[in-house]
Amino acid sequence: MRTRFLIVDDSDLVRKGLRTVLQANPEWEVCGEAADGLAAVEIFKEVRPTIVIVDFQMPGMNGIEAARRMLKIAPAVPIVMFTQHANAELEKRAMDAGIRSVVSKTDAFPMVGIIEALLGPVDPKPSAEGTL
């Protein structure tokens, strides 16, 4: 089962870049995109992603508030914040709201590692040759 991502960022450029980075992994698929917090919550309800990547500073609702609302709907979904403003204070508030990790926008590839860790070990697929 592929891992399904919802990505939330008001910048088209960033969403496009993220899609490319994430979909480099054949098991990963971007199933929904939103450009603001309110839309994000609606799309979250519709597509029920495996994992959410959300920006912090967006017009209207910020990413922490959007994450809070999504977690009310599905508390177990890991949410990662991908922001230009990563810092200790933001991290504190983000984690308090239930976000699992705050990553700087220049650390997209390290974020991939963090996402892999959050998604947990992949079940070994049964293969013709026996165990891996």
Binding site: D10, S11, L13, V14, K16, G17, L18, T20, V21, A24, F56, Q57, N62, I64, Q84, H85, N87, A88, E89, L90, K92, R93, S104, K105, T106, A108, F109
Partner: protein
Amino acid sequence: MNEQQKVNILMVDDQPAKLLSYEVILRELDENLIKAHSGREALDILLKTDIAVVLMDVSMPELDGFELAALIRQHPRFQKTAIIFISGVHLTDSDQLKAYERGAVDYISVPVIPELLRAKVSVFADLHRKTRETELLNRELRSLSARLIATQDEERRRIARDLHDSVGQLVAALSMNNGLALLEAKHLSPAASGALEQNTELVQQLSKEIRTMSHLLHPPLLDEIGLLPAIKLFAEGFAERSKVDVKVELSDEISRLAPNVEISIFRIVQECLTNVYRHSGSKTAFIKIWPSDEKMLTVQVRDQGKGIPPEHRISMALGTNHGIGLSGMRERARELGGTLEIQSNENGTAVTAAFPLTSAAAVGV
């Protein structure tokens, strides 16, 4: 003199004939002459009209001039109102002293010499006119200053937002592309992959610079989360950049304040710390924000530096190109109904601002 420039001169006497004689003498001054026949009438007029000079006889049959003067002086608004006594009785030095104690600013003896009365009245009339002009200019200045501060805030917010929304997002996309290219590093020449590696470094630095710039202009934490985390973050960044050790004490009881209060407090702290770095020579600074009682919020920034020498008070008040200075800070506080005080000696400086919380309408997060 045009109507707008004329001041009001109040003449008080219970004898209409006397009032008429004063009127005749003072007509030449071309000011507004107002007559009152009793103490009550005089007070009524004083309360409703802006009076430059009060002219009254010390010994009126029905009305004691000294008593009336004392009554007028009781009102806080009329502490400085010019009162000229006209005295028929020869006043000894001690009588004159009594007159001054009771609130007269001048006296003239009977028989009144018209030129003398005109001269004395016009001195106070002119003084009042000048004071009025100065007050008007002050009000204009304050309003201009408030607009300037608001414009500056708006500009900074806009630039910070643009930095984030355009430049910052471009850097993010750049970073991701660079990362994607680096995935192919083993297919590239050492020079090429070396350049990409360097790009990664450069992009990190670029991102950091933008982040710092935008935080100094207008921290997103301030709008999105609130004053306390924004101050903590600013203090940390400042300590790193300046090597000044900053201790922050922020009371937990403070919930979100009105946006204009939060931004003003933030700017005041920002300006104070900048001054600590630039002028004080202090290696430490303290920021404390606490509700000083249920209605007031107090902000204090202290340092242990060399203090503000008197000759620098003025340039510090006006500020350098980098800040709007202490008088800008005072203006911010005043605009919100608050106060700002500076205490400074050779052991350090403390800037203390207090804001009424009621105007902030604390909003729970």
